[in-house]
Symmetry: C2
Subunit: 355 residues, 2 copies
C-alpha cells in the first residue's frame, strides 16, 4: 500500500489518491487501522478464520466504458468479490481497491469525474453491506499507444475482499455428497439478457445510477445474507457462486467434490429478462441463458436430502434444481433432464469476455 | 477469485491460469485452503491481528518489459508488498497475485514464457521468505490499440500480502516521539543508481535472473527479519519502509506522528553504486540519490534515545541518521545538517515513474 504523493507526481495520480483517501473508512469494528500506514490492520473475531479473494475488473474485459455507467462498473467490481465471500458463508471485514485510471478520468465533468462515479458505485454497495474500504493502491494508467491518435489508457481495478468465518465452518466447493439435493438462489440468465440489451442500446442505460433487482447485469446483488444463513443454520453441504454461468460453476462443484449431477431443466428458475428476450425473439432460448449466461452472482449449493430447505432464505427465493450422484466411468459429469423428459449430457458452456 | 476456465475462453487465459495454479501453494501452516475455491482460507495465530497491503505493478509505470528481466519484474512485484509487511514488523501469511498479461507472454520461448519467468521471480523470493502464493485472479490484457500496428496489451499485476502480528504490537508510522533517534537499515540511493545504469544499457542486465545484494533496483531485499526483530525486541517506536525515497517517506513518518526531524547528512549511508555513479561523473551527487532515490526498500525507524540499538540487526547494518523534534510553527518539517555543518530545510523530493 504505497500511495505516491511526491511533488514530481502527475496531477492525476494525486487527485486519484486524494479522492480515494477521502472516501475510505477510518476505524471500524473489524478495521483497527485503515489507509495511511504501510498496511491496514484487521482484527478478526476470536476463533475465526480469514478468507481472502481478489478479482480483477479490467476495461474491455469485464466492462466497457462506452456501455457501463461508471457507477455500474464500480458496483460490479465490488459485487464480484462480495459474491465470493457469500459463497463461503463469510462476513466481510474489509475491501481493498487497487486502481489504475487514465488521468482524464479523474477530472470532474458536471460535478463529478468518472472515478468519483466509479467510487460512488463501489461505496453505495459497500455501505449496504457494511464493508469498509480499508486501503489499496493507485496508479495512473500507462498510455496504450504513444504514437496513435487515441492518447489514453485503460482502467484496471483489482478488488480484494477479506472476510471472517467461524473456524472450520466455511462453505466449500469440495464437500457435496452423492444424494445431496442441488439448490439455486434467485433466477438465472437475467444478467446475460440485460447485457444483450445493453450492447444493443448503451445510451438507454447511460444514466442508470441506482441499484435495483431488475438490473442483474449492471447492479447484481451478492447473496451475502443467504450465504451467512446457510452457514449458520448448517443447511448447505457445499456452495459456489455463479459467476461464469450455472453449467460452468456446477462443473467446478462436481469436480471439486468428485461427484456427478443430474439437473432438472424444468425446475431452473429463468429470469424474467431472459424470458422477455426469448419472447421478443432476441434469443432462441431463455433456458440457454439461464444455463450458460455469466455473472448472475446467485448461489448454487447442495444440502442433504434430509435437510428441510425453506422456499426463501433471507428474502431470496430458493429452488431445488437437481440431485448430486456418484460419478460413474463412461457417464457424463453432468446430465440434464430436458423439459420433454429426455436425459442429455450437460456441458460447461462459458461466457465470453467483451474483448 | 474467479478463474475462468470455460471452453470459449481465449487460450492465453487458460495457459495463464494453469501456469499459476500449478505453482501455487497447497495447505501450509497459515493457509488452510489455497486456490480452487471461491476464497482462500487463512488461519491467523490466536491473539494476532491481520495486516493487509496491496501494490500494483504496471508495465510502463513500475517496470519496463524492454528494461527489466521478467524475473526482476516478478521479484520487484512481491518485494513491494513484503517490504510493507516488514515495516509493520509482521509475519507473512500468504500472497495473492492478480495478473493480466497479453496472450503472447504466456507462450514459451526457449523453454519458458515471459509469464513463467515472471512467476519464477516471484516464487524464488516467496520461497526464501516462506510466503505461500495462495490465490489471485487472472485475465488476458485488453489490446491497447486495435487499429494500430502494435497489437499487444500491457502487463498489470496486483500483489496482495496478508500477514499477522501480535495484537496491538504492529509498528506504525504514527507513534514516533520528539527526542527519538532516527535510524535506517542498509544503504540508500543504490536502487536509483542501478536504474540509471539499467536505462543506459538494458542489454547488459537482460540475462540477470539471480537476486544478489548488489542489485538494489532489480532485486531489492525486503527487510522482513529486521522488522520482526524490531517488533520482538520492542526496539522501534515507529517504522516505515523507504519505497518513495528517504525524504518522501520520512515526511510521511513526521506527518503521521505530528513531529519534525533533523537529519544529519554526513551520517546517511550512501550505497556504493550511488557513490560509483558520482565518481564516474554520471550524477552530480550521490547524496541526492540517497535522499530522494526511490525503491530502496530499506526500513526507516525511530527508537527512544534510551534504547540501545545494535549496529547490525538480523545481519543488516543499522545507522542513526537524525533525531525527531517537536514541530514548531514557522519551522520546516524536516531540516538537514549538511556535511559542511549548515542547516537547510529538507523537502520531500519524489521519484519519477517510468511513464
Amino acid at each position: 500500500m504505497s500511495a505516491r504523493r511526491t511533488p514530481r507526481e502527475p496531477a492525476g495520480e494525486k487527485a486519484l489518491i486524494a479522492a480515494i483517501r477521502r472516501r475510505t473508512a477510518g476505524r471500524t469494528r473489524s478495521v483497527r487501522l485503515g489507509i495511511g500506514d504501510d498496511c491496514a490492520i484487521l482484527r478478526p473475531a476470536p476463533g475465526s478464520e480469514v478468507v481472502v479473494t481478489t478479482d480483477f475488473s479490467l476495461e474491455q474485459v469485464h466492462f466497457r466504458r462506452d456501455w457501463h455507467p461508471a457507477e455500474s462498473a464500480g458496483h460490479r467490481c465490488l459485487a464480484r468479490g462480495l459474491s465470493d465471500l457469500a459463497a463461503m458463508g463469510a462476513d466481510p471485514m474489509a475491501a481493498f481497491l487497487s486502481i489504475a485510471v487514465p488521468a482524464e478520468l479523474t477530472v470532474a465533468e458536471r460535478g463529478s469525474s468518472w472515478l468519483d462515479r466509479f467510487l460512488n458505485g463501489i461505496l453505495a454497495l459497500a455501505s449496504r453491506h457494511k464493508v469498509p474500504l480499508a486501503g489499496g493502491d493507485t496508479a495512473q494508467s500507462p498510455l496504450f499507444d504513444e504514437v496513435g491518435s487515441r492518447q489514453t489508457g485503460m482502467v484496471s481495478a483489482d478488488i480484494v475482499l477479506v472476510g471472517s468465518v467461524a473456524q472450520g465452518r466455511a462453505l466449500l466447493r469440495s464437500s457435496a455428497k452423492a444424494g445431496d439435493i442441488l439448490y439455486v438462489t434467485g433466477a438465472l440468465g437475467g444478467a446475460e439478457a440485460e447485457l444483450l440489451a445493453l450492447g444493443r442500446n448503451p445510451e438507454a442505460f447511460s444514466k442508470l445510477k441506482k441499484s435495483a433487482p431488475e438490473h442483474p447485469h449492471l447492479y447484481p446483488e451478492p447473496r451475502l445474507a443467504v450465504g451467512r444463513r446457510l452457514l449458520a443454520q448448517r443447511t448447505a453441504t457445499a456452495a459456489i457462486d455463479i459467476s461464469d454461468g450455472l453449467s460452468t460453476d456446477l462443473a467446478h462443484l462436481c469436480e471439486e467434490s468428485g461427484i456427478a449431477v443430474q439437473v432438472d431443466a424444468a425446475a431452473i428458475p429463468v429470469h424474467p429478462l431472459a424470458q422477455k428476450a426469448e419472447k421478443d425473439g432476441w434469443i432462441p432460448s431463455a433456458l440457454h441463458f439461464a444455463l450458460h449466461g455469466g455473472e448472475d452472482y446467485e448461489l448454487l449449493f447442495t444440502a442433504s436430502s434430509r435437510t428441510k430447505v425453506p422456499a426463501r432464505i433471507a428474502g431470496v427465493p430458493v429452488r431445488s434444481i437437481g440431485r448430486m450422484k456418484a460419478r460413474r466411468k463412461g457417464k457424463p459429469l453432468m446430465e440434464m433432464i430436458r423439459p420433454n423428459g429426455k436425459a442429455v449430457p450437460l456441458h460447461a458452456g462459458g461466457w465470453e469476455h467483451f474483448g
